[in-house]
C-alpha cells in the first residue's frame, strides 16, 4: 500500500513546482523557464490570474423585483393565489396562518396546525437526508469538486476533450473560454447561469459546452471560428426538468450522444438527448439524490455518488446498476482508469483511496456491471509529518477530488488538510500509476503553488502528447499548468473508442481479489 510517508518532502517554501522530468518533480522560482527541449510544448498555454477583486459582484442580490415596490396589502384571496403560484401549498398555509384578518380564526388555527405538521414531516425527511435542509448554494458548495466553491474566484474548470481549449467558471457567474490558438476570449453570460457547479465539453464536437447551473443545465453552442467575445444568450439551450435543481454534476457520454445530469435533491439522474431536448429519468430511490457523476473513458460505466453512504455504478448499455454501500461517509470523488476496468474512489471521513476493479467489458454480458466483490485500499493518506530543512510540514487528510490522466500514468489527488490543526494544509499529491498487468500506485511528489495559494481545482489536459499536463486552479485565482514529461507505456487514447487491451487484462484477474501493493 502506498502511503504519504513514502513521498519525497514538499518543496521549500517560496518555491513553486514547475514540472516533472526524469521521474522527479522540479521546483524552483516562479519565473524560471522550462528546459529548452520542452519549451515549445507549453508556449501557447495561457497562464492567467483572475483575482477575486476584479470580478464584479452582483449588483442585486435578491432575484425578485419585490423590494423595488411599495408594500401594498392585497386581499387574502389574492395573496393566497400568489403564494400558491410562487411557493406552493406551504406558501398558502403560511399566508393564511399569518393573515391579519380577524374573522378567520378557525382557518388560521387550522392552517397553522397543518403547517406545523408539514414542518414536522419535512424535518423527519431532513433527518433522513440532512442535505435536503441546506439552501441550494450551500448544497452546491458542499458537493462541488472545488475546495472552496463559495469563496474562491474560480468555481469550475473544464478542458476540451480534443483541443487545447478550456472554460473557466467564475464567481460572478460568467464563463470564460480560453483557446491557445486565438486571442479572443468569449465570455458567456446568461440570465439562468447562476452558481455554476460544473461544466463539461461535448466530446466529438467542436464547441458545445454544458453548464450545470442552479436551476437548469445550459448548453452553449459556440462557433469556434467566431470572433465575438460575447455570444448571445440565444446560443444557449436551456435544459430544465421539474424538481431537478440545483444541478451539481454533469457527464457527457464519451461518444458524445448523451448528457447525464445529477442533482442532490432529485433521486433520478437524467439522461439527455441534447439535440432534441428529450430526457429520460433514471430513477433509483435510496440515497436521496445524486451528487457526483463520472463516466468511464470507454463509455461502459458511470459512477453516481449519493449524499448518503452509498454509491452506484451504472452500466451504460442497459442502464442497470450495482449498489455499493460505504462504511463511513458518502463517496466524495472518483475516477476511472482509461480502459474503464478500475475505479478509484474516496470516502468522506476516511483518508484512504479505495480501488474497485471491474471485469473486462464486452457487449455480450448485457445488463451486468461486473464489479468485484470488495473494494481494496490502495493508498493511505493519513496525516504525516515531514521534517524538512525549513521546519515541520504536516500533510494528509481526506481527498476532495481526484483525477487520472488520460494515459493512465499519473494520478493527482487534492488532499484537504485537517481543519482542526492550522499548520496542516491543502495540497495536491501526485502518484505514478500503472494499470496493467497489475495495478501499481507509486509516490511521485507534492505540488506547491505560490506562497499562500491553496489548490482549488485540478484537471488533466486530455491530449497532451509528451506525457501528462495537470492544470491547477489556485485560491489566488491563478491557473497554472504543470507538465509531467515521460514516455507513455501505451499510446495515449486519442479516440474515445475502447482500445483493445484484452491480452493484458486477463492476466491480472487472479491477483485482483486481494489488495495490491507496490512497495511498502
Amino acid at each position: 500500500m502506498c502511503s504519504l510517508a513514502l513521498f519525497p518532502p514538499p518543496p521549500a517554501p517560496g518555491d513553486v513546482t514547475l514540472y516533472e522530468c526524469h521521474n522527479a518533480l522540479v521546483s524552483g522560482h516562479i519565473y524560471e523557464k522550462l528546459p529548452l527541449a520542452f519549451q515549445d510544448q507549453l508556449a501557447d498555454l495561457p497562464v492567467l490570474t483572475i483575482p477575486k477583486e476584479t470580478l464584479k459582484a452582483h449588483s442585486r442580490l435578491e432575484h425578485s423585483t419585490k423590494p423595488a415596490f411599495i408594500h401594498h396589502q392585497e386581499t387574502l384571496w389574492k395573496r393566497c393565489l400568489n403564494a400558491w403560484r410562487d411557493v406552493g401549498m406551504c406558501g398558502v398555509l403560511n399566508e393564511v396562518a399569518n393573515a391579519e384578518e380577524a374573522d378567520l380564526q378557525w382557518m388560521k388555527t387550522g392552517s397553522s396546525w397543518a403547517l406545523a405538521l408539514c414542518h414536522w414531516v419535512s424535518s423527519l425527511h431532513g433527518s433522513l437526508f440532512p442535505h435536503l435542509s441546506l439552501c441550494s448554494e450551500d448544497m452546491i458548495a458542499e458537493f462541488s469538486q472545488a475546495v472552496d466553491w463559495a469563496g474562491c474566484s474560480i468555481r469550475a474548470f473544464a478542458w476540451h476533450p480534443h483541443t487545447s481549449k478550456f472554460a473557466v467558471a467564475l464567481l460572478d457567474d460568467s464563463i470564460r473560454v480560453y483557446n491557445t490558438n486565438s486571442a479572443t476570449v468569449p465570455i458567456l453570460k446568461h440570465r439562468l447561469q447562476r452558481n455554476v457547479a460544473s461544466m463539461a465539453w461535448k466530446p466529438l464536437c467542436a464547441s458545445i459546452l454544458a453548464v450545470a447551473c442552479q436551476s437548469c443545465v445550459l448548453v452553449w453552442h459556440l462557433d469556434p471560428t467566431s470572433l465575438s467575445t460575447r455570444p448571445s444568450s440565444g446560443c444557449a439551450q436551456v435544459l430544465a426538468y421539474p424538481g431537478h435543481s440545483p444541478v451539481t454534476s454533469l457527464a457527457w457520454a464519451p461518444s458524445g450522444e448523451m448528457l447525464l445530469s445529477a442533482s442532490p435533491v432529485d433521486t433520478a439522474m437524467l439522461v439527455w438527448d441534447v439535440s432534441t431536448e428529450n430526457c429520460v429519468p433514471l430513477q433509483w430511490f435510496g440515497g436521496g439524490g445524486v451528487t457526483y457523476l463520472a463516466w468511464s473513458p470507454d463509455g461502459s460505466k458511470v459512477l453516481a455518488a449519493t449524499p448518503s453512504a452509498v454509491f452506484r455504478v451504472w452500466e451504460a448499455q442497459m442502464w442497470t446498476c450495482e449498489r455499493w454501500p460505504t462504511i463511513k461517509g458518502r463517496c466524495q470523488t472518483g475516477c476511472w482508469s482509461p480502459d474503464g476496468s478500475r475505479l478509484l474512489f474516496t470516502v468522506l471521513g476516511e483518508s484512504v483511496i479505495y480501488s474497485l476493479s471491474f471485469s473486462e467489458y464486452s457487449g455480450e454480458m448485457q445488463g451486468q456491471v461486473g464489479g468485484s466483490k470488495t473494494a481494496s485500499i490502495v493508498a493511505d493518506l493519513s496525516e504525516t509529518t515531514f521534517e524538512t530543512l525549513y521546519g515541520e510540514a504536516r500533510i494528509g487528510g481526506e481527498v476532495h477530488s481526484m483525477v487520472w490522466d488520460p494515459s493512465g500514468e499519473r494520478l493527482a489527488a487534492l488532499i484537504r488538510g485537517n481543519p482542526e490543526t492550522p499548520e496542516s494544509r491543502t495540497i495536491v499529491a501526485v502518484f505514478r500509476t500503472r494499470n496493467s498487468p497489475v495495478f501499481e500506485l507509486l509516490p511521485c511528489g507534492f505540488l506547491q503553488g505560490e506562497p499562500g495559494a491553496q489548490p482549488q481545482l485540478i484537471a488533466f489536459h486530455p491530449c497532451f502528447k509528451k506525457g501528462a499536463l495537470l492544470t491547477v486552479c489556485w485560491s489566488t485565482g491563478r491557473i497554472s499548468h504543470i507538465p509531467f514529461f515521460f514516455v507513455s507505456a501505451q499510446v495515449p487514447c486519442f479516440s474515445p473508442s475502447p482500445s483493445p487491451v484484452v491480452a493484458l487484462s486477463s492476466s491480472s484477474a487472479s491477483v485482483r481479489e486481494q489488495p495490491l501493493f507496490s512497495e511498502l
Binding site: 480534443h162 466529438l204 469556434p224 458524445g256 450522444e257 429520460v280 442497459m318 457487449g363
Partner: protein
Amino acid sequence: MVLGWRVAASIAWSVLLLPLCTAVFISISSIDLFHPIQWISNSFNDWYTSYVIFCILLMSVVILIISIFNVEFYAVVPSIPCSRLALLGKIIHPRQVIHSVVHAIMGMLVAWCAAVMTKGKFQFLALPCTASESLDGAVQHMCLNEYHLFLLLSGAFMGYNYSLLYLVNNMNYLPFPIIQQYKYLRFRRSLPLLVKRSCVESLYLVRNVCVAHYFFGYIPRAWISTTMDLHTDSKLHPLDTLTGLLDLSLLYHTWLCGVFLLITWHVTWLLFKIYATEAHHFPVQPTFAEETDQCLPKILNSNPPLIIKFLALQDLMLLSQYSPIRRQEVFSLSQPGGHPHNWTAISKECLNLLSDLTQKLIMQQEAAATNGRVKQPSTGELGRSLSSSEAAVKEEMAFQTQRSNVISRAHMPSLVKSSLLPLKALSTSDLGSSFGSPFSSPALNRKAGILDLNSPWHGSVQSPHVMRRGPKLWTSSSDLQMNGSPQASFSMISVARVGNEATQPSFIYTWLQNKQEQVRSFLSKRVLIMYFFSKHPEASIQAVFSDAQMHIWALEGLSRLVAASFTEDRFGVVQTTLPVILNTLLTLQEVVDKHFKLPHASSKPPRISGSLMDTSYKTLRFALRASLKTAIYRITTTFGEHLNAVQVSAEHKKRLQQFLEFKE
C-alpha cells in the same frame, strides 16, 4: 414472426394487468371514508362476484380488439399532415372512421362494465318506477335509468375522443427510446406519467360530456325510451338540466369510469410500444443455411416491413457500439473466395440511405428556392411600379380602410397574421398612426411590402418569415384591390410591363399567367380555403425528416464501424470504402447545413412539455444534424492525420481539414 410474438406478449401482459386495474377501480368506486373496514371488506367481497368476472372477461375482449387496432395502425414513420385539409382528410378516411366507431363501441362496453361494477344506482338501464302509479301494483312500469345511460354515452364519447386524439397526436407512431432499458423498467418509468395524464384527461372529458349532454342529452333518452318502451321517472331530475348534472356522485363515477377506460387502453398502447421497439438481435452471419434470410446484411438489403428495417438498423447501431465479437463478423471475409460480403452489404445499404436523404434534401431545397425566385421578381416589379405611383396608393387608402373592416383581424389566416408582425414595426414609423392598427389596413400592408422589397436590407432580412411569407401576403392583398377597386387594370399593366422588360414572351402567355395568378389569389382570398390549404411550414419540414431515425442509426452504425476498423479490421475491408463514406457524409453535411440556413427552418427545437405523447418526431432533424457531425468527428478523430492519404475531392479535403482542427 418476431413481431407476432412481441404483440402476443404485450397483449398477454395487458390482459393480465386488467384484473388489477379492475380491483383498484372497484375499491375506489365504492370508497367510504367513514367506514373504512366495511369498505375494504365489501370491496374484497365484490372482487369475486360473477358480475365482475364476467366484466373482466368482456374487457379482455375489448383489450384484445384495441390491441388489434394498435397493431394495424402502428407506424414507425409518422404521417404528418401538412395542412388542415390533410388532417380533415385523415379524419374522414374510412380507415379512421372504422377506428373511431369501433373505439366508441368499445368505450361503451367498458362504460357498461364500469356501471355494472359500480353498482348502486348505475347498475341497470331499466328500473322499476318509483312514481305514484307503481303503487297501484297492477302493472309495474319500467323506467329508464338515466344515470346508466349517461355513463354509457360518456363511455362512447370517451372512446371516440381517444380515437381522435390517437390520430391527431400521432399516437400510432412508435418512437424508439434514446437509451436501451429493460422492459419492466421502461414500463415502471412511464407508469406514473400515464396515470397522471389519464386522470387529467378524464377531467376534461367529463366536462365535455356534461356540456354535450346538456345540449343533446334528450335525443338518446327519447330514442331509448321509445324503442325499449320505458317510461321516464317523473320524480328524478332529468339529466339534461343543470340541477340534474350537478350530481357529485354522478360526476365522480363518470370521471372514474373515464380514468379506468383511459388507463387500461393507454397501458395496452404503452406495452405494445415497449414490446415493439425493443432491440432485436439479428445474427450477422448465418449459422445454418435456412437462417440466411434473417441475418443482418440480408435484411438491410431486402425490402422488409419498415419496422423490421428499423430494428435491423438499430441492431446495427448497437452492435457497432457494444459488441466487438459481432463487429469482427462484420469485418470478416467469406470463407471460400475471401470477399467482405457482410461489410459490403451493410455499408452499401447505409450509404444508399444517406444518399437518398441527400437527394431528398436537395430536391426540397430546389423547390424552396424556385418558389421564391418565381414570385419575387414579379412582386418586386409590382412593388416598384406601385411605389412610383404612390399618390394612387394614398388615394385608395380611404377605400381600403373601409374594406378592411370586412376582413377583420380574426378572420385572417394565421400565417399571414404572423408574417405581418415584423412588418408592423417597420411601417408604423413611416406612416404614422393615423390608420390605427396596421392589421386593419391591407393598403398599409402593401406599403410595408414596398418598403420591404425596396429597402437596402431587402436581401438580408433577419426574420425569415418576412421574406418567405412576404410574396404570399402580397398577392392576397393586391388582389383585394383588383377585385374591388378601380385599380383592377393596374396590375395587368404592370405584369405586362414585366413581360416586356424581360425576355418578351408572347402576350397570351402573360395573359394566361395573369389569369392563373388571379384565380389563385381569388381562392386564397377566401378565408376558409386559405385556412384549410395553407401549409404549415414547420409541419412540412417535419414531414421531410419524418423517417430520419433510420438515417441517424445508419450514420451512427457506419461511423462506429469505421472508427472500430482502425484497430479491429484485420483485412482492411473498410479502407476500400472509406473515400465513398467520407464523400457521402461530407456531401450530406453540406446539404444539411444548407437546409438549416433556409429562412424558414428554425434552428432550435421547440419546447416539449411533459406529455404522455411522444413528440420526438418533431425534433428528429436536430438529432440528425447532431449525429451527422458526431459521426464525421468520430471518423476524423480516430484516423487523425491518416485521412490526408484518403482520396477525396479538394473541396472535401478542405472540409476534412476543418474537422481535423475542430473548427466545424
